[in-house]
């Protein structure tokens, strides 16, 4: 096996294992494309996930493609993000807990020339993972039956982000991605009184190219470096083929050609962000709106509302001139985000918020970096028979710089 083959095999295994995981058990993932991935899981996870107004530098910030401009000329960044989540799902009188984990990002980034920096990667886009039992009674009888609803799968994206430095202060970026994947939503009818079962399975394969845009402007006021960023994307329709399989105790009817093909849209969005940085402190804030409210779901139901996200974060670097201990070289982060969800069920917006804390640990060689953050949050509501999710999440991101991959040459 030559080197290239080995590398391809290893990367495929990593991507494969990332793709196979379901990062949610939320009943809310029944809706739309599933539970959308809320953030980048990168270096700024400990700062409430801010990023629109943050420049990349020694890590890859996907929140705003224009941020790549600040990658050093000689850098070759390799970044991976992992996350594990414990969620307590509750209604008024019932509950369950779930633990999920997965790879959230795998990317490389480097500068092509003095004005163009680029990044390639794969990341999950949405997750579907529910397993719900419902009991019903056949009308006109006392014969009860059980319906088991199962959803799994999700969407991923291969992306290619590019940033162009227009002037010393101004960069623009475009993130071109291919969103694809497979979502299976099934229901199976069984009953102790039934000899047979009835299983209906819909497989959806949404896919399309997707673009989002960004720009960043940086400058300096007194001792503060500041960055202002803006991002946006247009409404994009994902071409979705639906394949129906009906399986019963005696027959299986499935089709190789889709039963229907329809468009499932991702609505337009825009975001605004800013950060200020002194020698020791970074303060950042993001605001993002996405126009879900303009959409109806596949069955024509109004279950969406415009989503909004507000994120605030702070980072502290002790900045000791001659650090003796590791903690003196570490960065410390804290943040908060408030999310108005794109789901509005039973007249209630499924809002959520979370607090985050994190640390950044530099590698032995300065430019490699490990970020660890902890996030505690809640989403949803107990009112109107809805579900409230309390979650605790640990994110780990590794940003490995070129030093790891470059063999110094002695002359």
């Amino acid at each position: 096996m030559n080197k290239q083959t080995l590398l391809v095999v290893l990367l495929s295994l990593i991507i494969g294992s990332a793709h196979a995981q379901t990062f949610t058990n939320s009943p809310y993932s029944y809706y739309a494309l599933g539970e959308l991935e809320p953030s980048d899981y990168g270096r700024t996870s400990g700062m409430g996930g801010v990023g629109i107004g943050i420049s990349s530098g020694q890590f890859l910030n996907r929140t705003n493609p224009a941020s790549l401009s600040s990658i050093d000329t000689l850098s070759f960044l390799f970044e991976v993000a992992l996350s594990a989540k414990y969620t307590d799902y509750k209604t008024y009188n019932h509950g369950f807990t779930a633990t999920n984990s997965g790879i959230k990002k795998l990317s490389v980034g480097f500068r092509l020339n003095h004005f163009w920096a680029t990044s390639l990667g794969i990341a999950p886009y949405s997750n579907v993972g529910y397993n719900i039992n419902q009991t019903g009674t056949i009308e006109g009888t006392n014969q009860s039956y059980n319906t088991n609803y199962k959803g799994n799968g999700g969407l991923s994206q291969f992306y290619w982000a590019n940033s162009f430095r227009l002037t010393h202060s101004l960069s623009v970026g475009v993130d071109a991605s291919y969103i694809f994947g497979s979502i299976t939503k099934s229901e199976e009818i069984t009953s102790s009184g039934f000899a047979g079962y009835y299983s209906l399975s819909n497989n959806y394969t949404p896919n399309n190219l997707y673009f989002d845009l960004g720009s960043q402007y940086n400058g300096k006021i007194n001792n503060w470096d500041y960055v202002v960023g803006v991002t946006g994307g247009f409404k994009t329709a994902l071409t979705t083929a639906k394949y129906l399989t009906v399986e019963t105790a005696t027959t299986t009817a499935s089709s190789d050609i889709p039963t229907t093909v329809f468009n499932q849209s991702i609505p337009a969005f825009w975001g605004l962000g800013a950060s200020m940085k002194s020698k020791s402190w970074t303060l950042a804030a993001d605001y993002k709106v996405q126009y879900w409210g303009s959409l109806v779901d596949q069955n024509g139901q109004h279950i969406y509302a415009n989503s909004r996200k507000i994120a605030l974060g702070v980072e502290y670097l002790p900045g000791v001139s001659v650090p003796r201990f590791l903690y003196q070289r570490m960065v410390y982060q804290a943040g908060f985000h408030y999310d108005q969800s794109y789901l509005r069920l039973r007249g209630v917006n499924l809002d959520g918020y979370a607090v985050t804390v994190g640390v950044g640990i530099p590698g032995r060689r300065e430019r490699s970096f490990m970020g660890m953050s902890f996030e505690a949050g809640k989403r949803g509501s107990l009112s109107n028979g809805l579900i409230r999710e309390n979650y605790y999440q640990i994110n780990v991101s590794l940003s490995l710089n070129d030093i790891w991959f470059v063999r110094p040459k002695y002359q």
Binding site: H94, T135, G196, K409
Partner: protein, 455 residues
């Protein structure tokens, strides 16, 4: 020499190591996904695309027919008697049983051949034991006579069986008769003294070492068997076991020269059991509902919206579902989750007269008994009488016919297109029932379907 950090060559093993670490972490955390608790949460949001419905209005047609014949040989059972159906539906049913006996043999007779010349005939006794099977009113006496068969009992051409319709001629004069109060569930034996002329004839042939007693073939050729004949005025049909410990004929004699009078005997046991059979016939000329039954099914609308089953004589109810396949037209991707055929019999004054269970068979257009209908676990459907303890007349029989319905729906080429209802062990049972078809009011005969479909 000086150090230069120009990108010259990527550290390949560094990348591989890194990938392996990530992969290891990914696989490790992949294992940790788990869920605990109540998975009913979220059911409030789920909208089913599947319709689950209850249907009990599908047309079910009932008809009755008379089987051409029922194999009645080799059942080890002599069914003797007759009964009149008190409900006047099934008329008079009679059974005549034919049993062949073996020679006692020549060699084993007596203490020594020298004494045989002095043998004096005492009696010829036939002993019977109840099998436990009976039908009708056993509180009334049962009267039947025994006749010597005078025609060879042989199988019809190219058959290995004899049938309820088979019969062979026998002497008009009986060789014995008896009237008993049957005790079918007792261990009592029934003994019948046979004609002295026959006994003396047997003893004579024995004493003379006649060839006719030398072998089974010779003996059967000489004494072709006994027909157990009951006249049609009886009130019950009773079963007797046929084997060497339950049915035997003893020839008693003594030797004149004996100082002390010693009773001696030889025993005739049943043989050629595969040729033993019961001739079962009925007379329904005075039963308007059933007198015209033939081997072509008669629709229940022509017989008072009733259909009929009777063991022994072979009256069978056929059930058809003419519009079953139209379900598929109205319910695409349909699956029958459960199908139950419920049949309500007309309950006679005494509930005990209803069969405790009825069997259900697949059939085709030829009314063949293709195979017994199994439940979803592969066991034969019992079809037990579900007794309604409060209102006995609401008692029903029911069968899970899911497999049948799905078979009919699933395979267009299937030649199975109906069901047959017959009493359990219909070849040796006289169980009978009158079934109300779905058009009769106050009765609850119907096909129940639980179906799931997706449109």
């Amino acid at each position: 020499m000086h150090k230069q950090t120009v990108v010259e060559n990527y550290d390949f093993m560094g990348i591989v190591r890194y990938c392996l670490i990530i992969l290891g972490i990914a696989l490790a955390i992949n294992e940790s996904s788990c869920v605990k608790g109540d998975e009913a949460i979220g059911s409030q949001f789920m909208n089913s695309d599947v319709n689950v419905k209850y249907i009990d209005s599908l047309t079910v047609n009932f008809s009755s027919f008379l089987m051409d014949s029922i194999i009645s040989s080799n059942k080890n059972l002599a069914l003797v008697g007759s009964y009149v159906d008190p409900e006047s539906v099934f008329g008079v049913t009679q059974s005549t049983s034919y049993v062949i006996f073996n020679t006692p043999g020549l060699v084993s007779v007596g203490n020594s051949s020298g004494l045989l010349g002095n043998a004096v005939y005492d009696s010829l006794i036939l002993t019977l034991k109840y099998s436990g099977l009976y039908y009708g009113d056993t509180l009334q006496p049962l009267k039947f006579s025994l006749h010597r068969v005078n025609q060879d009992i042989v199988f019809p051409t190219s058959s290995q069986y004899l049938y309820n319709t088979s019969s062979f001629s026998y002497d008009a004069d009986s060789i014995g008769e008896i009237e008993i109060l049957p005790r079918p569930n007792s261990d009592q034996t029934v003994t019948i003294k046979l004609a002295g002329s026959l006994g003396a004839e047997f003893l004579d042939k024995l004493a003379n070492g006649s060839d006719e007693l030398a072998s089974q073939d010779n003996f059967v050729n000489y004494f072709k068997g006994i027909a157990f004949v009951a006249d049609p005025t009886n009130s019950s049909i009773v079963g007797f076991n046929i084997n060497s410990t339950s049915m035997y004929m003893n020839l008693y004699y003594h030797n004149e020269g004996d100082v002390v009078n010693v009773s001696r005997d030889v025993q005739f046991n049943p043989c050629l059991l595969d040729h033993q059979f019961n001739h079962i016939y009925s007379n329904r000329t005075n039963s308007p509902l059933t007198k015209d039954l033939s081997n072509v099914p008669t629709n229940s609308s022509n017989t008072g919206n009733y259909s009929f089953v009777q063991g022994g004589t072979g009256i069978v109810t056929r059930v058809d579902f003419p519009y079953l396949s139209s379900l598929l037209k109205y319910h695409p991707n349909m699956q029958v989750l459960r199908a139950v055929l419920v049949v309500q019999p007309v309950v006679p004054q005494n509930l005990d007269y209803l069969p405790s269970n009825l069997n259900l068979y697949f059939t085709n257009k030829f009314n063949d008994f293709v195979s017994i209908v199994n439940d979803s676990n592969g066991n034969a459907e019992g079809g037990n009488l579900n007794v309604d303890g409060v209102i006995p007349s609401n008692s029903t029989y029911s069968w899970d016919v899911t497999t049948f319905v799905n078979t009919v729906l699933g395979t267009n080429s299937s030649n199975l297109n109906g069901l047959l209802i017959v009493p359990n062990n219909y070849s040796v049972s006289f169980d009978h029932a009158v079934i109300a078809d779905p058009l009769r009011s106050h009765y609850n005969t119907k096909l129940i379907l639980y179906i799931a479909s997706h449109e």
